[in-house]
């Protein structure tokens, strides 16, 4: 269960009696083991972060020297750039809709599969499969075909007498198909929910059932609180992932943000600005705004966690 919570903080170093340390004292060796990671952390993470912060205050086209513009990129972003604001809107809608729906679906399926009946492992694997395929270009291409004008989805709906537009080409529906593709990959949170459900003591349910609590009340008052740390973990991880969605938007929106920019995800616009228009400074500024937003959202979730996340060992 502990592994399912947010990453554990490092263990406090215990005072050690001479010669009886639980960890070997091996300073030089430790740094030998850490060398690749340290090089990566300095050269590919911290260094680039500092540079990217600097670039976000400049105009930089990759070929001439960066030109300092102060907060110009940031003010332009929020006051002058309609496509930027559009990408913020699209991404927020995507996160706010796909994450809760995905969590609900994955919890529902996990509840369904949380049983001792035979075949559970088989279904679990089958429901997990789309999680591995979903991030690929191939899956996005299939999705595009399924939701196109005369495609299979519309054929089925027409069978019910509903006439529907070409989903992927209609600005009002295009984003919905990408949300569905995101929800389709509910396997990972589902598997984590299942592991969490296995930790809910059966005695609690039995006792409550004897006291006359129905299935819904038991779910509301036993399962949900016991599961809240797992819900919390899934919520944080899925939100972080959703903010960074790219491939489906790129493929389904035809690489250009879809009809009337309906699929202009944040990362898609960032890619366009940075690697097609070579406005690297502006793209860096966009990346930093994304970082700050993700940090704020994570912080909010962590803050409110006290109100709704229940830990058995901390009543």
């Amino acid at each position: 269960m502990t592994t399912l919570r947010t990453p554990a903080p490092p263990r406090p170093v215990q005072p050690r009696a001479p010669g009886r340390g639980y960890r070997r004292k091996s300073q030089p060796e430790a740094f030998a083991f850490l060398t690749p990671w340290l090089l990566g952390a300095v050269a590919l993470t911290v260094g680039p972060m500092v540079v990217s912060l600097y670039l976000s205050f400049t105009d930089y086209d990759l070929f001439t020297t960066p030109h300092w513009v102060g907060f110009g990129n940031f003010t332009h972003m929020f006051t002058d750039d309609d496509r930027y604001l559009r990408s913020v809107e699209v991404t927020l809608i995507y996160v706010l809709v796909s994450v809760p729906v995905k969590l609900a679906v994955s919890l529902g399926v996990a509840l369904l599969l949380n049983t001792r009946r035979g075949g559970g492992g088989f279904y679990r694997a089958a429901f997990y499969a789309p999680s591995l395929l979903g991030a690929s270009v191939a899956a996005a291409l299939v999705w595009r075909a399924l939701f196109t004008g005369g495609g299979p989805v519309n054929e089925v709906l027409a069978g019910f007498g509903w006439r529907t537009p070409s989903w992927v080409d209609d600005p009002n529906f295009s984003l919905a198909t990408i949300v569905l593709l995101g929800v389709w990959q509910f396997g990972a949170p589902m598997v984590i929910f299942l592991a969490g459900l296995k930790q809910v003591p059966a005695e609690l349910h039995e006792a409550a059932a004897i006291d006359g609590a129905g299935a819904l009340r038991r779910f509301r008052h036993i399962t949900l609180p016991m599961l809240s740390p797992v819900i919390f973990f899934n919520l944080v991880m899925e939100a972080i992932h959703a903010f960074q969605a790219f491939t489906p938007a790129f493929v389904i929106g035809g690489g250009r943000g879809g009809p009337a920019d309906a699929d202009l995800f944040y990362t898609l616009y960032l890619f366009e600005v940075g690697f097609q228009d070579f406005r690297m400074g502006y793209a860096s500024a966009m990346a930093w705004v994304l970082l700050v937003v993700i940090a704020i959202v994570t912080a909010i979730v962590f803050r409110t966690a006290k109100l709704w996340v229940f830990y058995e060992d901390r009543p």
């Binding site: 091996s26 990217s52 990759l62 089958a126 270009v137 196109t148 396997g187 491939t247």
Partner: protein, 278 residues
């Protein structure tokens, strides 16, 4: 009897859910062998006749480069990424899980923080570095970061696993005169096999599916990987190319499906114990 009825109901529900969830995959498999005019217009999964033109046409590739080349490139990038990730992440994980050193707490906390860092924040300076070094349009920018353990998720995964290995084993090895390096190589690493296998599988699948990084760094069609090759079909998408596009899409999923079938238990359990995302 009601127990049996409930059980049957449960199976029916599960099978229905499964049909919905796996429909797109089945659709792709059958679309790849349909005559081109049936791909979009026919509701039925099964084709009226099986046509394999899509495969032969698709395999010829696009822009003068065969699809075999894209597969070779993808296997090369994914294979090297697996080796690079396993080596670098297990080294770092051993230090974090088993050794004492200054700043251990701070460095570990930093490693954990990078788990949440959006990739885009380091993307542009990394691109500039590789561009200055003349390495854009090679596979180096795709593999070097993995050799330097920038995928903190895997470091964390292996750390968590190594923490579970009894310390008495290292202590015994030390008493027997093993150096730290020998303890790592002969004691801890062999016992960490499950974590290393999980790391390998996920690295392979993620690299195979990766589109963004490969699109940023690779320009020549010669260097293209499978996802980029698939995209070529979209750019030139006329009705007649659909057959080729879906045939190659189906092929692109084959390695993942094979991995999944071979390791599904491990994959699914790896996710539930580590919180890895698929």
């Amino acid at each position: 009897m009601p127990r049996t009825a409930r059980s049957i109901g449960w199976h029916v529900l599960c099978l229905c859910g499964m049909a919905v969830v796996l429909y797109p995959v089945a659709w792709l498999a059958f679309a790849s062998v349909k005559p081109p005019d049936e791909i979009l217009s026919r509701l039925a999964l099964l084709p009226s006749r099986f046509v394999f033109d899509g495969y032969s046409k698709g395999w010829e590739g696009a822009a003068g480069v065969g699809f075999g080349r894209f597969f070779l490139n993808s296997f090369l990038v994914a294979g090297l990424s697996v080796v690079a990730n396993v080596v670098s992440c297990s080294l770092a994980a051993y230090a974090f899980a088993r050794l004492r050193f200054r700043f251990r707490g701070a460095l570990f906390a930093f490693m954990i923080t990078t788990l949440m860092l959006p990739y885009h924040v380091t993307l542009i300076p990394q691109y500039v570095i590789f561009q200055q070094a003349g390495l854009v349009n090679t596979f180096v920018p795709l593999i070097l970061p993995k050799l330097l353990a920038t995928e903190a998720f895997f470091v964390f995964l292996i750390v968590q696993f190594m923490r579970g290995i009894p310390r008495e084993l290292d202590e015994a090895a030390t008493i027997d005169g093993c150096s730290v390096y020998r303890t790592f190589w002969h004691v801890v690493l062999p016992l960490s096999k499950p974590a290393l296998v999980t790391t390998s599988i996920f690295t392979f699948i993620w690299t195979w599916n990766d589109f963004f990084t490969q699109m940023v760094y690779l320009n020549d069609t010669e260097k293209f990987t499978v996802p980029l090759g698939l995209r070529l079909f979209v750019d030139t998408s006329s009705q007649s190319d659909f057959g080729a596009m879906f045939a190659m899409s189906a092929l692109a999923l084959v390695p993942i499906v094979l991995f999944f079938l071979a390791f599904q238990r491990l994959l699914v359990e790896g996710v539930s114990t580590s919180g890895l995302k698929g």
